[in-house]
């Protein structure tokens, strides 16, 4: 069965998304302000019990190897640093917004496992490339967010996509285009518009399957490679995992040698185990 969804259908479906809680919106606005102090940020985080727990849990995780337990949000933010705290807040806010919509065959936990792995890998690639690691983490986390838009707005349609993928053993992007006439990249762009994401983030979401297209931007290159590596490391742990086609130009642009790749794989897996425990909804 095939459909012909349009961009407008997607946009109309976005109105059904639950709004982000006001406290989270306020946090998201304030974390991007460069002049916010640690005390103010700690106060805002402490208004949200779940976020408080996750912040403390991450700072006290073995990833950071602290000898003593941190007990206050302010200590945790001081230790984690602004970039990591911002990434954490954004990640928690977004994962909260998408409840499981009952689309048969769609594994929401596996979706987030892959997104978290991509985010970590993108952040490590950004460190290597001297790019903004916070942007890279957020873009990695959100690169496939259009999939949740499609699953949430059109669950029965998306069941057909998953069926097509299983029957033909093709990458999801191709199955989406064949069945829906639209894909998660376009749906992600619609959401980015709806939530007023920055241009950098929109370009990364829009270009993560075609980083060589004009104007895609460097962040799209980072996310494209991180996405492929996250699939290749098999961290989503699904039987039908499949590495998408990798742009040779994007790969070459990052200038990774074999030793760097080996360390990148190791560090991605190491950080994944810790961060997934904190972020998985």
């Amino acid at each position: 069965m095939t459909y012909a969804l349009t961009y407008d259908d997607i946009v109309n479906g976005l109105d059904d998304l639950p709004p982000l809680p006001a406290a989270v919106m306020e946090l998201l606005r304030s974390v991007d302000a460069d002049d916010i102090g640690i005390a103010v940020l700690a106060q805002k985080v402490s208004h949200d019990p779940a976020l408080t727990a996750k912040t403390l849990r991450l700072a006290n995780s073995s990833l950071y190897g602290l000898q003593v337990k941190l007990t206050t949000v302010q200590q945790a933010i001081t230790y984690l640093g602004f970039q990591t705290t911002r990434s954490l807040i954004k990640a928690v806010a977004v994962t909260r917004c998408f409840a499981d919509r009952g689309c048969a065959g769609f594994n929401q936990e596996a979706f987030w496992r892959h997104s978290i792995a991509s985010a970590i890998c993108a952040k490590l690639l950004a460190r290597h490339a001297r790019f903004n690691q916070d942007y890279a983490f957020t873009a990695g986390l959100l690169h496939d967010i259009g999939r949740l838009v499609l699953v949430g707005g059109f669950p029965r349609h998306y069941e057909q996509v998953l069926l097509r993928r299983r029957e033909q053993d093709v990458v999801l992007l191709q199955a989406e285009r064949e069945v829906l006439g639209i894909d998660h990249v376009e749906a992600g762009l619609a959401l980015a518009e709806h939530w007023h994401f920055s241009d950098t983030m929109r370009l990364a979401i829009g270009g993560h399957h075609a980083p060589e297209q004009a104007g895609a931007g460097y962040l799209a290159t980072i996310v494209h490679v991180a996405d492929a590596i996250a699939h290749a490391l098999d961290l989503a742990r699904t039987d039908d995992e499949l590495v998408p086609p990798l742009s040779e130009a994007a790969w070459n642009q990052l200038g990774l040698d074999d030793g760097m790749c080996h360390r990148l794989f190791q560090e991605t897996e190491l950080q994944y185990d810790e961060i997934a425990q904190v972020l998985l909804p």
Binding site: D169, V170, V171, A228, I229, H231, A232, L233, D234, E241, L242, V243, P244, P245, L246, W251, D258, G259, C261, H262, F265, Q266
Partner: protein
């Protein structure tokens, strides 16, 4: 007559020809899984990422 000590029975050791890493890991399964992940590019020669992931999963150190 001088008593000859009886040889001590030892547990059978690993075959001398098997590399040590093959004794503890199901490498064919690891290789099969990695190849399966890259099946969308099955017709093309293995990509660099494919080879790197395979080496990583097989525990081969990269060149220094």
């Amino acid at each position: 007559m001088t008593p000859v000590p009886r040889p001590i029975a030892l547990a059978p050791g690993p075959p001398a020809t098997a590399p040590p890493d093959e004794l503890s890991q199901p490498w064919p399964m690891v290789r099969r899984r990695v190849d399966l992940l890259f099946r969308s590019a099955a017709e093309a020669p293995p990509s660099r990422l494919h080879r790197l992931i395979l080496a990583y999963r097989m525990g081969r150190e990269p060149p220094p």
